[in-house]
Symmetry: C2
Subunit: 346 residues, 2 copies
DNA sequence: TCCAGCAGATTAATGGATTTATCAACTCTG
DNA sequence: CAGAGTTGATAAATCCATTAATCTGCTGGA
């Protein structure tokens, strides 16, 4: 910058003002501005952000940590954040949570990023409040927003879509089609206690239509292939297997569908399947997958908005985004139950 | 840091040495070390990375920019990078290329990150050398590695898997099963000129077995759903439609399979499909997808390794990783061609 | 004519960690 | 016991951009 200033025949303060778009009480004539800009171009000057961050204690970078970067639902949330980030001149930095846990102890990312200067705050997706990293960060007073419904008994700032009406809409779709035996599957075990939103939504839908709810109706098993497969098999070993299944997250749907097919059942003829959350890929399977579209982009945007408030030192509260409301997107995987139930081939 | 130094009764230089693990010619007694560490703990001191980066002109952050963060193949590459990053104490920062292109002009990310201080270098996935951002960065002398085979006539540093034997293995798998009419589909148009590795691999396999290669054998259409669908339809409008298809990237497979199914064709009975690159999700479709597994993790790791060399100012060359060699993973989507060809239902 | 006011620009302090040069005190060695 | 060598630690320069405080002309109004 000193070099640029020298070549342009001005002081560094002027260069700084030009480059950062007018700062402090430094006023510039248009002519000087242009001359400096030309010099910047000519010298190939690049602003040093470390220095900028140091001086202004504001890095302009937000770290987003999610369990799997390939998760398409969270990618949609990030798209929402990105719109706002763009407007605010912020950069989003995505990290897979699995990358930052080494030998059971939490991260690198902690030690490297939580310090001042590199990132201004965190947006984290955890399904468990027990997460060490999150506890540590909040304890240190680092601005942090969790993409999840609020955890009862904890005062983390949480922003996410409202799962209850979403899952309820999924269940109601099946009920409206005429299904009477409906089960729900998926979700990290600790994420679906009896009072969690998804569970509530599912129960509410069934209760409202006087449908039976057994101990087998809700299987919370995590998103692992093997677990999902086992759960599906379990469902169809029951005396009255379901004719409709709500998969509580679309990312668990492939494993669920595969198992259903492997059991010799046809979708939707023998079983209807609807997944919670909508992603593009749902339209590309055969049968394509009916889903419930949630305001995930909006939640992402709201999450960043909330984080920015936190960073600015303003008070911020947890929010459940419910606008626009859940929309059922019917594709090929849901249909009225057939009269003649097919028997499992094996 | 000054505060910590004061409380521990030492100078800031000592604290710096303790925190950064011994630097310069500052020697420490074990006793002092412990005392400082305790003070750091007690005061909740967090190292300011902006200052650190400013002074040492080394941020410890690598920016990875890829077209779609949900791309599972690239996620595998990132896992490879991550191993090395962990060892080196580096942080990887992932950004979706789509997020950083605003109004057709390139980015935010450019202006924000390419300056010194925030990131030390870039690993970029582009399939086109025309990419403005890449050209700009390399012109500015920013350390950058492209995840792609080398672009003829350009001297970018490129690291990737060797597509030629990979695609050849895919085609040979079909040939070994007895297929004689084979087509290849997918890939950005400009990514498959006649002499590109994938094209070469495909041609080589066919040539070696004296199989016909027509103008319809290789359709490079990009990864868009609609384009893929149109290409597949085109294939089956031909006089002698293929009995085997190589989809040149597994991320294009869902759209391809969906279209095949929609045409009333059965996989693998009527058509065998094999995809280039292996991802976990390939095992979860029904029929599950045969693939060719490439050393993608290794390429990712090698890419970062090369970037680090560049950052250190050492010379670095483009590399095509070919160890371990391609492995065909046969699942349900490939089988010998059936004698009695099914006709398209519609 | 004189001064207030303003446009346009400069000076210099600042942020926090790193690192070289330097220093004090102590231990050997011949 | 003098001088060399070592250990343990400090002072101060440095990295680069930001910005509050200041300064210089110049213009318009009284």
């Amino acid at each position: 910058m000193r070099e640029v200033a020298a070549k342009a025949g001005v002081s560094v303060a002027v260069v700084s003002a030009v480059v950062s778009g007018g700062s402090g009480n430094v006023r510039l004539s248009e002519e000087t501005r242009q001359r400096v800009l030309r010099t910047v171009e000519a010298t190939g000057y690049r602003r040093n952000h470390a220095a900028r961050a140091l001086r202004s204690s504001h890095a302009g970078v937000i770290s987003v940590v999610i369990p799997r970067v390939t998760n398409a639902v969270l990618a949609r949330a990030m798209e929402g954040m990105q719109q706002l980030a763009q407007d605010e001149g912020l950069v989003l930095m995505l990290t897979d949570a699995n990358w930052i846990v080494a030998d059971g102890k939490v991260s690198n990312l902690m030690t490297r990023l939580s310090g001042t200067g590199i990132v201004d705050g965190f947006i984290v997706r955890t399904t468990s409040v027990g997460n060490e990293a999150v506890a540590d960060l909040t304890a240190r007073g680092v601005p942090l927003v969790i993409l999840h419904e609020p955890f009862p008994g904890h005062d983390h700032v949480c922003v996410w879509v409202d799962d209850e009406p979403g899952v309820r809409a999924a269940a109601e779709h099946l009920i409206e089609l005429g299904h009477e035996h409906i089960a729900m599957i998926g979700g990290p075990r600790h994420d679906i206690p009896d009072d969690a939103a998804r569970s509530r939504g599912f129960r509410a839908a069934l209760a409202e239509h006087d449908l039976p709810l057994t101990s087998q109706s809700i299987l919370a098993v995590g998103y692992g292939e093997a677990e999902i497969a086992a759960a599906i098999r379990k469902l169809f070993q029951a005396a009255t297997p379901p004719t409709g299944i709500v998969v509580d997250n679309v990312v668990a749907a492939p494993a669920a569908m595969a198992t259903v097919v492997d059991l010799g059942l046809r979708v939707p003829d023998d079983v209807s399947v609807i997944a919670y959350h909508d992603i593009d890929a749902a339209g590309l399977t055969r049968p394509s997958l009916s889903t419930v579209k949630m305001p995930v982009e909006e939640a992402g945007r709201k999450g960043l908005e909330t984080l920015l408030r936190l960073i600015a030192g303003e008070p911020a509260e947890s929010v459940l985004v419910s606008d626009p409301p859940p929309v059922v997107i019917q594709r090929q995987s849901t249909a009225p139950p057939s009269r003649t139930r097919h028997r499992r081939r094996t």
